[in-house]
């Protein structure tokens, strides 16, 4: 098996049962290599977000198989999948989704505290380092709800990176941002891919965004084309 493959989808098929039985994903097959910057594009309703939720292990109601780091996710328990998400996957959502009850820094290191591999002071240092990489270290002590949209998205990226994940997944990460902030976020992703050899999988409907990535997976009507 190719050591470079971090994520592999094998014949993933999913149905929606409500209101009528409907095949959203039809035998989706592809794999992503380490260090690739991949974007998934397609029309609204073609199943690209659904695919992302399956790939992120949050949705388990599908047939076919998903391998992350060469390990099948099919028969894992909810608890084991949570551990996989914690350790190997970083998330950036369309709507920032920070915890408003915590400071920026605490938000960033929360997944690492859950992983519980390093002490809190070490993690705080690491969090500050990540924030300064993204140019927002001065925000670290603020509460999450005091930030602007672009700032929140950058904090979310820092949080996605805190556990040095195998892959960062984004669901329309720039969908809710103005063009200036979109550009900043894209530049960050690009920098991560180039300088840190970070694998990225971004779902987007922004063609301009997609065109600048290494590889584009186009979806139409539940199929990869």
């Amino acid at each position: 098996m190719n050591k470079n493959i971090v994520l592999e989808a094998k014949g993933i098929t999913k149905y929606f049962n409500d209101p009528v039985k409907f095949e959203v994903l039809k035998q989706v097959n592809f794999s992503i290599n380490k260090g690739e910057f991949v974007s998934v594009v397609g029309k609204s309703g073609c199943g690209k977000s659904t695919l992302l939720y399956i790939l992120s292990t949050m949705d388990t109601d599908y047939s076919g198989d998903l391998l992350i780091d060469g390990i099948s996710m099919k028969d894992k328990s909810e608890k084991e999948l949570a551990a996989v998400r914690n350790e190997k996957i970083g998330f950036v959502f369309q709507f920032h989704y920070l915890l408003n009850e915590f400071t920026v820094l605490h938000n960033v290191i929360l997944p690492a505290l859950k992983l519980n591999r390093l002490q809190q002071p070490v993690l705080e240092e690491k969090g500050i380092k990540l924030l300064s990489l993204l140019g927002i270290e001065k925000l670290s002590g603020k509460m999450a709800n005091q930030l602007s949209g672009g700032e929140k998205q950058r904090v979310a990226i820092a949080r996605a990176m805190i556990n040095d994940p195998l892959i960062i997944m984004g669901d329309e990460p720039t969908g809710n941002l103005d063009s200036k902030n979109s550009q900043i976020v894209f530049d960050i992703f690009k920098e991560l891919a180039v300088e840190f050899n970070q694998t990225l999988l971004i779902v987007t409907h922004d063609d301009a965004f997609a065109e600048k990535t290494n590889r584009i997976i186009k979806m139409d009507d539940g199929r990869v084309v």
């Binding site: 949050m58 949570a82 551990a83 989704y97 920070l98 859950k114």
Partner: protein, 419 residues
């Protein structure tokens, strides 16, 4: 998930809705306060009322009862052994009231590990004579020291010194009721007529008030010696041996044992005063029921607040799950929020409960029937605090469990897509 992280997240969620959480905690505090106060007060009263009887009642009383013989001669006869013998009009025979070998029995009892103390007693039927009026009465001859030590005799002597009973010869402590009727003052000499018709002068050294008026109209106390003289009996005449045990619950067993060993009647306190236990039990059940109801109501408060919190914090739950917290972790977070509310509420409730019991303890409560009681009785038994604490934690755990279960089942995909 480390404990500190669990604590951090729970704290953040808890403080995000601080007012509601506070209200929930106050609900628990109120429940616990009332539970503890109610039980302390109720049991204080119970103990006081039971004490009216049980303080002065021996746990086991050894005496000779007047009764028909258990074995009828005809049943022993070989000739009628196989027959069923009907005997009508069986009469009791006159046994001596005195207990045989009383000194040996008392020595033996004092060596028994289960026995706290032994006090001899004689009951003598008399008439209190005042001019041509004769009042029915009973004089109890007691060992003053033992009686005071085991049965709180001194508490019930409201006027005069109980020790005068043994220091002054031919002295008597009159029941308050008797003293009121025959107008006897302390220092007066009254005359009693014994059952054999002899008249006997006795000096009044004090009044006795038990709290039961009927009892005080009849009973009086004198020393053993005085009573023996009065009954015209010798030094070895003792009609009752009163035994106080270390554990009152052993009384029926011990009584049965003594009945066999000493060939005398032995009666335990449970048989003699069954009705008091029933009253106590009913009162205890009522107070527990009310207290537990209060706590369950508080539990519903917690349930509501957590449910609300979960709907409000759907986003938070979803993001926690997306970043790698399992359903189990989310559940622990919400249960620990519930338990925090429960434990803080319970601790505050214990403090307030103690304070409120203390206030009740200060309220004057004076009644002629209870000479030793000056304020409302309160029982500060740590047991009630323990039960209240345990119950508060159990209730809040379950009140938190259902919402937590719901939170753990939140599907992050639905929340994240739904936006």
């Amino acid at each position: 998930m480390s404990f500190k992280l669990l604590f951090d997240i729970s704290k953040a969620l808890l403080f995000s809705r601080f007012k509601q959480t506070l209200v929930a905690a106050i609900g628990v505090t109120f429940g616990i306060t009332m539970f503890i106060t109610l039980l302390s007060f109720m049991n204080g009263l119970n103990k006081m009322l039971d004490g009216l009887v049980s303080n002065r009642t021996p746990h086991v009383r050894i005496y000779n009862n007047i009764k028909p013989t258990v074995v009828q001669p005809i049943n022993e006869s070989a000739q009628f052994k196989d027959a069923y013998n009907f005997i009508s009009s069986v009469k009791p025979y006159n046994t001596r009231k005195e207990i045989y070998n009383v000194n040996a029995i008392m020595d033996k009892l004092k060596t028994d590990d289960r026995v706290l103390g032994v006090a001899p007693k004689i009951a003598a039927q008399v008439f209190y004579t005042l001019g041509n009026v004769n009042l029915n009465g009973v004089i109890n001859g007691v060992d003053v020291d033992a009686e005071a030590r085991l049965f709180y005799f001194n508490d019930y002597v409201t006027t005069g010194n109980y020790l005068d009973l043994q220091n002054t010869s031919n002295s008597i402590i009159l029941g308050k009721g008797v003293a009121d009727i025959i107008l006897a003052q302390i220092g007066d000499v009254i005359t009693v007529t014994t059952s054999t018709g002899e008249q006997f002068p006795l000096k009044v050294v004090g009044y006795f008030q038990s709290g039961i008026a009927d009892y005080d109209k009849v009973q009086s106390y004198a020393s053993i010696n005085t009573t023996q003289k009065l009954s015209g009996r010798g030094k070895s005449y003792i009609s009752d041996v009163q035994v106080k045990l270390k554990d009152i619950n052993l009384a029926p067993v011990v009584a049965a044992e003594y009945r066999n060993i000493f060939e005398a009647d032995a009666e335990d306190i449970q048989t003699a005063n069954a009705q008091f236990e029933t009253g106590t039990n009913v009162r205890t059940i009522i107070s527990y029921a009310v207290g537990i109801t209060l706590l369950i109501v508080a539990g519903f408060g917690i349930y509501n607040i957590l449910n609300m919190l979960i709907y409000e914090k759907m986003d938070t739950i979803a993001i926690l799950k997306a970043t790698g917290f399992a359903g189990y972790d989310v559940k622990r977070i919400f249960i620990s929020i519930a338990l925090t509310i429960g434990i803080c509420g319970a601790l505050a409730g214990m403090v307030f409960g103690f304070a409120l019991s203390n206030v009740i303890d200060q309220i004057p409560f004076e009644t002629a029937a209870l000479p030793t009681v000056k304020t409302f009785p309160v029982d500060y038994n740590p047991k009630y605090y323990f039960i209240a604490g345990t119950f508060a934690i159990v209730t809040t755990y379950f009140a938190g469990w259902f919402p937590a279960q719901k939170a753990s089942k939140v599907d992050p995909v639905i929340i994240i897509r739904g936006k």
